[in-house]
Symmetry: C2
Subunit: 275 residues, 2 copies
């Protein structure tokens, strides 16, 4: 892992605590007040991919930072290594913010880290964050639910266990009256859309991809289930991106309020080079 | 509707904007930085049920407040009346925070208000909030997803259109590998659990109800699908409550980190008397 700054200087073995904190989708203003307070007061911040530069800028200069994400030319830090690091920091009495993109308990492995800490007697707390589906959809003018259009929403992941294909009930998904929000779906977009089509979801179902949602680099691709995979190639869609499938995507034409390039307060600074 | 304070005194007809702001689940520290900034700068705040007293305490004294929720002895303000009020305020040039519990685009009717404003040429922006499912589950020690246990999550509502029964695909829900998060489910809890049981969901599926989640008044009821409705009666479960159904509920035993009564920073003040 990458570590900058010196060793954390404070620490009390009785009071160490790991705060599993959701950083939200990218816009630093979508941090919660609680997350901002914990970042200000932390001894150590442990963060991974998808934490934007604007959010890291909220961390005071004296706070020790550990980067545990994957980056070009760097070894990927494994989950057991991250768990062990967190436990060691907690046992050393540090106040640690374990910062995760979005929400720590929605596709964030927060519960794996919490379970490990709990089994080893370390204190932890969970601080929810704005999850990517809610934020990216809102900033793309797409409501996840709307009376008479979508009576619910399903969050699914494009990545299965061990980075294999997702094992999902495609029949149920294809016939659902809910909106589908696909996390980590760029690499498996072709496959997911094909499976939904083959399971009977109409090809003209509205579908959108939102890249770098909520930041100044946000780009929207509004398409259909049948067309999205090929249009995503021409669009050069890259991670991180949220895919939303369902009739609610039609609202993106009229409710398109966000101007990423306008420099309005809503927009955020560039993503970290790690992202 | 109830209005306190005097008429808003500023206003510029060119610059009126309605901010559809998610207030999160109840803990004022789960407001986003953006929501807190907009509340500080607003001319007018329009809010409804489920906005906690602790959140309203963030609104500066000079800001005009409109309460448009239902309350004992008061007339319920209809959605068309709310729409008309928001439009009038925007056309009068006011900066208006339309404050909604949770997230405005998840069971929040935010898109109905946004569509109305858009059709009438008024400016609006959407500010996502922590949705109740994510927050209440996290504060009850329940991850909404967990590798190998739940590969996704579905948000459904216990209230159908025109306040009738929800029309959901019970077969698909009963056989889903996703966690189910039921919003507004107290009144229809018996019905929803019965339908899931009849559709084949095992009666021993873990199920939880979280009342007043994230606040000092939070209460958890950990049960099973078959037992939850009857235990909820003995528990005197009341709205607002989030119901979570699925194997992830088992984590609530080990990951139970939140102490509502301890007065720790995580806890929030009492809910509004309107709530």
């Amino acid at each position: 892992m990458n570590k900058n700054n010196s060793e954390p200087t404070s620490g009390n073995s009785d009071s160490g605590c790991i705060y599993l904190v959701g950083a939200g989708p990218g816009d630093p203003e979508l941090l919660t007040l609680k997350a901002a307070r914990l970042l200000r007061d932390a001894d150590v911040v442990v963060y991974d991919r998808l934490i934007s530069a604007g959010i890291l800028a909220q961390v005071p200069a004296g706070v020790t930072r550990f980067y545990v994400g994957k980056a070009d030319g760097h070894h990927h830090v494994s989950q057991p290594e991250i768990n062990a690091l967190l436990l060691k920091l907690a046992q050393s009495g540090y106040q640690v913010v374990r910062l995760k993109g979005g929400d720590p308990f929605i596709f964030g492995r927060g519960s794996e880290e919490a379970s490990y800490l709990q089994r080893h007697g370390a204190r932890f707390e969970v601080v929810p964050g704005i999850t990517a589906a809610a934020a990216c959809a809102a900033y793309a003018g797409i409501p996840l639910t709307h009376r008479g259009v979508a009576n619910g929403v399903q969050f699914i992941s494009g990545r299965g266990r061990h980075n294999r294909e997702p094992e999902l009930d495609w029949q149920a998904l294809a016939h659902s009256a809910s909106t589908l929000a696909l996390y980590m779906g760029v690499d498996s977009l072709d496959q997911v859309c094909s499976k939904l089509l083959r399971a009977g979801m109409p090809g003209d179902t509205p579908a959108a991809a939102i890249e770098n949602g909520t930041t100044r680099q946000q780009r929207r691709l509004i398409s259909t289930l049948a067309q999205l995979p090929i249009q995503a190639v021409a669009f050069r869609l890259q991670s991180p991106a949220m895919v939303v499938i369902g009739e609610v995507v039609n609202f993106s034409q009229t409710l398109d309020w966000f101007r990423p390039d306008s420099g309005q307060p809503a927009a955020a600074s560039a993503r970290s080079m790690h992202g």
